[in-house]
């Protein structure tokens, strides 16, 4: 049964590529084929996962090798996949949320004439993401890694007729390349050090290598993870990626692909366990990103960009948890899953709102939508409660665990996550109030209406999961389940009881909610205030903390100068030498051409002149 796990990948891939090749006649049913393919992967994933749950704990990791991919001397790579506790959870998340988003997209993209292509790209994404999580070898993982990068590029730039979308796609691709350099170097280092890039082998034998090897690998993998997961300093592409259709933002840039970095860190648990420096680097990256993302989320009026800032922030939480080592791995994955539910829900809800508001994304043009879109309001509300950590919802359990674990690591890290929780509550309440409560600030000829059933049903499903997802922690199920893969943690005793901790976290979130309600309950300006009148903090947040400017100054401009210099060198130096030689030869020819007048008599004169010279020379030689 587990030998057939390649079908999980093959079916969506075949559907995706097939739909691209099939042509126009599949326009009518292409979206159904794609949705079926994704559903198949989900159902098959559920079957495999159920078998895994029924098996003994020792018998829960199944590796199957399809064939030898590369075999050259010492260099040996099998195309093999591992279905174990960790990748099983991911398969369920990817295919489950993925299928719901496929269904939602049927409605959302109904009027797009390139819908078939859109679904084909979604399928390719699902296949790549599954390759990424099922891979048993870092090189195979890299294959999926690049595959999701490609799918992300294609989907961000799906509305390529808009210049901004095309530019955003390019930006995402290029920023991801920076991270990929880290991945590629990490894999090469593995080959150099261990002679293999098998995930199990590398993580198993890392303890026999020196700490500096583990640190180096950890930092290189972190660079890759930063690129894919939009962590500081490679965060700048995520906000621009919102140019893509909203289901893409939900699937790729919130629920699944951007979590690949967290998966990578957790999957490489052996490497990070062996290096304290690498772990601390992960914590720092996570902490900085979670605060930066929350800051940006507070200031954006574009509902999708605000959610994107929130995504950055939440992935920062996961990264931070993953950096805590065995104490945090399971909670990172737990938060990743609950976040996958509620963030997909929030994004799809935002898409549903946009759908009813003529694709306007400015929250200042919303207001009082709760009566116009009751279902969207209810599901969005559930996602909202989950993300701010309202007691009983999924986010409450998963975020609390991370904050507790962070306090177990160090007081300051814990404080950072606690502040993040408060700010999260603030910006989400702001979004909620601006969108669904308060006055109507609708533009003319906008008639908000509820979305069709095909869009609201996935919303309801995800809304339910946003609440129920927290059940994974009951009876410590998820740490126990993941224990064999990522290791068990020794339990940190905090200075205060757990219930007090929970109370503090909830109180912090409530403060955030209260501040937002106080600020945004009153009349809100119908247009975004100009940058010159808002505070310096708001201005910084709107400019995404000047991330683009920093990249510009540190990377883009120096590169451009270098390019200009190289072009100059090429034109003046290399070309100068080559064309200069040719020019001189040309000049010589032009000079030699002159005597070739075509007149017989001038040739004759030359002939006689020449003969005369020869005769004179002979005479001179003879007489001398």
């Amino acid at each position: 049964m587990f030998d057939l796990q390649w079908l999980l990948i093959a079916v969506p891939l075949a559907s995706g590529l097939g739909l691209l090749a099939w042509g126009k006649e599949s326009d009518r049913f292409g979206h159904l084929v794609a949705t079926l393919a994704s559903t198949f992967s989900f159902v098959f994933g559920v079957v495999l996962f159920a078998k895994l749950m029924g098996a003994d704990e020792a018998d829960r990791s199944h590796t199957s090798t399809l064939y030898t991919w590369i075999d050259a001397g010492r260099f040996h790579v099998d195309l093999s996949f591992t279905f174990d506790q960790l990748s099983g959870l991911f398969v369920l998340l990817i295919t489950g949320v993925g299928t719901l988003i496929h269904i939602y997209s049927i409605g959302y993209m109904a009027h797009d004439e390139r819908r078939r292509r859109f679904f084909s790209f979604l399928n390719i994404f699902i296949a790549s993401m599954l390759t990424l999580v099922l891979a048993a070898d870092y090189l195979v993982l890299f294959l999926g890694w690049e595959g999701v990068g490609l799918a992300s590029y294609l989907l961000i730039g799906f509305w390529q007729h808009k210049d901004s979308a095309a530019a955003a796609a390019k930006k995402a691709f290029i920023v991801n390349r920076v991270g990929d350099v880290g991945m590629a170097l990490a894999i090469m280092t593995m080959f150099a050090q261990f002679g293999t890039s098998s995930i199990a082998a590398v993580n198993g034998s890392i303890t026999s290598a020196s700490t500096s090897v583990a640190t180096g690998l950890g930092l290189l993998l972190l660079l890759g993870a930063c690129g894919k997961s939009a962590q500081v300093p490679l965060q700048s592409w995520l906000l621009d990626a919102m140019e893509g259709p909203t289901p893409v933002s939900a699937l790729i840039h919130a629920a699944t692909m951007v979590t690949a970095g967290v998966y990578l860190v957790v999957r490489s648990a052996g490497i990070y366990d062996a290096s304290e420096v690498a772990r601390n680097a992960v914590i720092v990256v996570g902490l900085v990103t979670l605060l930066a993302g929350a800051w940006i989320g507070c200031t954006k009026d574009d509902i999708k960009k605000s959610l994107a800032g929130s995504t950055m922030s939440q992935i920062g939480y996961m990264m931070l948890a993953a950096g805590l080592g065995p104490a945090g791995y399971a909670f990172a994955i737990f938060h990743l899953i609950t976040h996958g539910f509620f963030k997909a829900n929030l994004f799809l809800g935002a898409g549903s709102v946009m759908h009813g508001m003529n694709d306007d994304v400015n929250m200042r043009h919303y207001g009082a939508l709760r009566t116009a879109m009751p279902i969207t309001f209810a599901t969005f509300g559930l996602g909202y409660l989950a993300i701010i950590g309202f007691p009983g919802t999924a986010g409450f359990f998963s975020k609390d665990k991370i904050i507790e674990a962070a306090f177990g690591q160090s007081f300051w890290v814990g404080l950072g996550t606690l502040i993040g929780a408060g700010v999260t509550a603030f910006y989400m309440t702001r979004m909620m109030t601006l969108t669904f409560f308060g006055q109507k600030r609708w533009l003319d000829d906008v008639h908000p209406h509820e979305s069709p059933k095909v869009m609201t049903i996935p919303l309801i499903a995800l809304g339910a999961l946003s609440v129920l997802g927290g059940a994974l922690i009951f009876g410590d199920w998820i740490p126990d389940w993941l224990g064999p893969v990522v290791g068990h943690a020794e339990h940190h005793e905090l200075g205060i009881p757990v219930w007090a901790m929970t109370l503090i976290i909830t109180a912090t979130a409530l403060v955030g909610v209260a501040v937002a309600v106080l600020l945004y309950r009153r009349d809100v300006a119908g247009e975004t205030p100009d940058d010159s009148v808002v505070s310096v903090f708001t201005r910084a947040g709107r400019n995404e903390l000047y991330g683009n400017q920093i990249n510009d100054a540190l990377v883009v401009r120096p590169t451009r100068y270098l390019t200009r210099f190289l072009v100059w060198l090429d034109v003046k130096g290399v070309d100068g030498l080559v064309t200069g030689t040719a020019d001189r030869l040309g000049d010589t020819s032009q000079f030699l051409r002159k005597p070739q007048t075509g007149h017989v008599r001038s040739y004759a004169a030359t002939l006689f002149g020449g003969a005369l010279v020869v005769v004179l020379a002979l005479l001179a030689v003879t007489l001398a």
């Binding site: 007048t597 075509g598 007149h599 017989v600 008599r601 004759a604 004169a605 006689f608």
Partner: protein
């Protein structure tokens, strides 16, 4: 002896000047013949002076070659005249575009 060579030199000079200055192809052609015959005269004179036949043999060769050259050259001139209605050698400069 000197008289013969002087005559040869004069003839050759007349021929050379004609080749360089005249435009009519027939006249240029005749001047070339004049130069050839001037050299023939020099050959024969030297042959007489040295008392062997080498110069005379060379003169015969020159005559043979000159006869062949006349055949080809006249044919070219006639065909140019037919197409261009002109025997001016300055007109026949078409290879230089």
């Amino acid at each position: 002896m000197t008289e013969y060579l002087t005559l040869s030199l004069i003839l050759f000079t007349i021929g050379a000047v004609g080749v360089l200055l005249r435009r009519n192809a027939i006249v240029v052609f005749m001047c070339i013949e004049l130069m050839l015959n001037a050299t023939n005269l020099a050959f024969v004179s030297f042959s007489r002076q040295h008392g062997n036949l080498d110069g005379q043999v060379a003169a015969f060769f020159v005559m043979v070659v000159a006869a062949a050259e006349v055949v080809v050259g006249l044919a070219i001139i006639v065909s140019i005249y037919r197409t261009r209605r002109s025997t001016s050698i300055d007109d026949a400069s078409l290879l230089k575009s």
